[in-house]
């Protein structure tokens, strides 16, 4: 399995952000909450929710698409959830999070699905219409990204406007409350454009032997 260099760099960047957030959180410099909301945070429930989302996404992807699609969707969900959590933890030092943080991290799955599913479907459709001699799987992934660019722009624009509508309607605590959504959108945009399609391309499906 050989993954595109850009995708590998994006994954390394995400991993570094996640590690930095984890280290700072362990040192007590992350995951700051407003109004004592952190006291009721259940880490177990947060991780259980992420695990549930990952397992369901893998099974859903496998049933609806194929193993490559399932693994790509699983990777997108895990990447986006962890990066959203890490970015929220880092930025919480500036704004402070709210008690709704775990729910909004889970809610940011909406961005992951809206941005990733069309690319995976498009890649699958393009892959079926051309032979591997004409186009490599990486080229197919690039083509899928190009074909879904307009839809991606529309989705990201309205998502950003929704988050801005929340963020600038109140004081800084309201901005902190919707921070997980902002982080989730950034993570979903990164993974759907730079990581997931190339991961899908790297997972070569097993060729069926002729009977």
């Amino acid at each position: 399995m050989r993954i595109n260099k850009g995708a590998a760099s994006a994954l390394v960047l995400s991993a570094l952000v996640a590690i930095l957030a984890l280290v700072l959180a362990l040192l007590g410099l992350g995951m700051k909450f407003n109004f004592g909301a952190g006291m009721t945070l259940s880490h177990l429930q947060l991780w259980a929710a992420i695990l549930t989302a990952a397992v369901v996404s893998f099974l859903f992807g496998w049933i609806r698409y194929d193993l490559a699609g399932a693994l790509a969707l699983l990777a997108a969900v895990v990447h986006d959830q962890l990066l959203a959590l890490a970015l929220s933890s880092l930025l919480s030092n500036l704004f402070g999070l709210a008690s709704a943080m775990p729910a909004l991290v889970a809610g940011s799955l909406a961005f992951t699905y809206c941005l990733t599913v069309p690319v995976l479907r498009e890649a699958r459709a393009v892959g079926r219409s051309v032979s591997q001699r004409e186009m490599s799987r990486e080229d197919i992934a690039r083509q899928a990204i190009r074909n879904t660019r307009l839809l991606c722009r529309v989705t990201v624009a309205f998502s950003a406007l929704l988050i801005l509508a929340f963020a600038f309607s109140g004081n800084l605590t309201l901005l902190g409350a919707v921070l997980p959504l902002l982080a989730g959108l950034a993570a979903a945009l990164l993974s759907s454009r730079l990581v997931t399609p190339f991961l899908w391309a790297a997972i070569t499906p097993r060729r069926k032997g002729r009977k």
Binding site: N34, F35, G36, A37, M39, T40, S42, Q45, L46, A48, A49, T52, A53, V56, S57, F60, R64, A98, S99, A100, P102, A103, L104, A106, G107, L109, A110, Y113, C114, V117, P118, R121, L150, L151, V154, T155, F158, S159, L161, L162, A165, F166, F168, S169, G170, N171, T173, L174, A177, V178, L181
Partner: protein, 466 residues
């Protein structure tokens, strides 16, 4: 002369008239639903039964706040202050717990920082357990517990619940305590019998609690075990069989007392006694005094912007999409009010994220339709193809997210569950609106207004791409 056979004339249905009727009925239903959402309606002449308005509007009448009660973040608040009881003013207990936390005795003197943090945790957990997630619990510089509650909450009940220390103990008939609430891992309540008024408190112990309770219930067979809260006997059930499985069900409670005790058992005991100072001071919303009004206006502008974009890009089909997005919002707020969700960031995020999924789904479908129209396909065929092709992507998004939301309702018991309940309902509404209602309305609009491509794609786009 032979009669000529009667020729049966085929009745031709005026398709345009049918389409016009369908669209007019659908529009009338939407308008009535939205007007009711803004104004509400008396359901009888005396006004005893009333359909509350459920659509949030800025300023003016605030009747919608009865249906969607604002949380402390976005609505007016009541600030309650709980002062730690200094010196040994705590009510006398029948007997000290054998393994009570060692800090208890000293905590009555002056609460330590750890004890204050534990008190914040316990108080916040009690509020969360009651569904009040949008609140604030903080320690003031004077060392008091300051709790900010929504104005619409039952502050009297909450004040007494939060002010209760909630220390549970089990004692034998002589009053000797043999177990306390720190060994309880979970607590709940349910019907004790068929009467419907007698409720039982169900308690699950940890390994140590299970062992102690099994020993004592065997030893006290035929006698009784007392359950005490803060030294007051709550129940005194007799023991007919040894209870060795680490769980006990204690009957003799009303619904309110069973619920209250279950919440206190789950949260654990406050590390020190507190007293409520006064009835509470009125306060501003936590996210800013004008946050509610600004947010409603900002979200309305966002909707208007989405509607304008859709209409400009996709003309008639865009108008139908904007109409359906409005219908989805009205329905989402209605069902959120119906299940008792408050007007909080959590509820609004669930409603508007599902709305965003619908914006994505409709944009996806209409982009596909426009592409086909520009390639010379008929509008009707383009609509059909778009639902058959690109429509599956949006279907996957709705179904995948809805499955996750339903599973999170089962798996989680906190804020994720509260969010997922509203999100799942709104996603299903979005699915129905996008894949059934929008398709029907666009199909009827094509019947009524014809299939000219200019009606479904902006002229500039036609020139550019044609």
């Amino acid at each position: 002369m032979a009669k000529q056979p009667e020729v049966k004339k085929k009745r031709s249905v005026n398709r345009k008239a049918v389409s016009a009727a369908v669209l007019v009925v659908a529009l009338a239903l939407t308008v009535v639903f939205i007007i009711l959402g803004v104004t509400g309606r008396n359901m009888d002449a005396q006004g005893l039964y009333r359909l509350l308005p459920w659509l949030p509007v800025p300023g003016g009448s605030a009747a919608w706040q009865e249906a969607l009660v604002p949380g402390a973040g976005l609505g007016d608040t009541v600030v309650q202050t709980f002062t730690p009881v200094q010196s040994g003013e705590a009510p006398a207990q029948e007997a000290p717990a054998q393994d009570a936390p060692a800090q208890d005795a000293s905590a009555q003197e002056a609460p330590t920082q750890d004890a204050l943090e534990e008190a914040v945790r316990v108080t916040a957990k009690r509020l969360n357990d009651l569904g009040w997630t949008d609140t604030a619990v903080e320690v003031s510089p004077e060392g008091n517990l300051v709790v900010t509650l929504p104005k619409g909450a039952d502050t009297g009940f909450l004040g007494s619940l939060l002010g209760s220390r909630g220390e549970f103990t089990f004692a034998d008939p002589q009053g000797e305590v043999f177990l306390n609430g720190s060994h309880v891992t979970s607590a709940g309540f349910g019907y004790a019998d068929q009467s419907g008024t007698n409720f039982a408190l169900s308690i699950q112990f940890d390994a140590e609690g299970k062992r102690v309770f099994a020993e004592k219930s065997t030893e006290l067979l035929g006698q009784s075990i007392m359950l005490l809260r803060d030294g007051v006997t709550l129940s005194n059930p007799s023991i007919s069989t040894p209870l060795t499985d680490g769980a006990v069900s204690i009957p003799g409670f009303t619904l309110e007392t069973a619920r209250e005790n279950a919440i206190l058992l789950r949260s654990g005991a406050l590390p020190f006694e507190v007293t409520l100072q006064g009835a509470g001071e009125p306060g501003a919303a936590l996210h800013g005094e004008r946050a509610q009004r600004s947010l409603i206006i900002a979200l309305t502008v966002l909707f208007a912007l989405a509607a304008v974009c859709l209409i400009v890009c996709f003309r008639l089909a865009g108008l139908a999409a904007a109409w359906m997005l409005l219908a989805q919002l009205a329905l989402s707020y209605f069902f959120s009010a119906l299940i008792g969700a408050g007007f909080t960031v959590l509820t609004l995020s669930a409603i508007w994220l599902s709305w965003l999924v619908s914006v994505f789904a409709m944009a996806n479908l209409l982009l596909g339709m426009r592409e086909d129209v520009l390639h010379g396909r008929s509008v009707r065929q383009a609509l059909k193809e778009s639902y058959a092709g690109r429509g599956h992507a949006s279907l996957d998004v709705y179904v995948g997210l809805a499955i996750i939301a339903v599973l999170l309702i089962i798996v989680d018991g906190g804020v994720i569950k509260l969010f997922s309940e509203i999100f799942a309902i709104c996603l299903l509404l979005g699915l129905a609106v996008t894949h059934l209602a929008l398709r029907l309305v666009t199909y009827e609009a094509i019947n009524l207004f014809g299939g000219k491509s200019e009606l479904y794609a902006a002229k500039r786009t036609l020139k550019k791409e044609g």
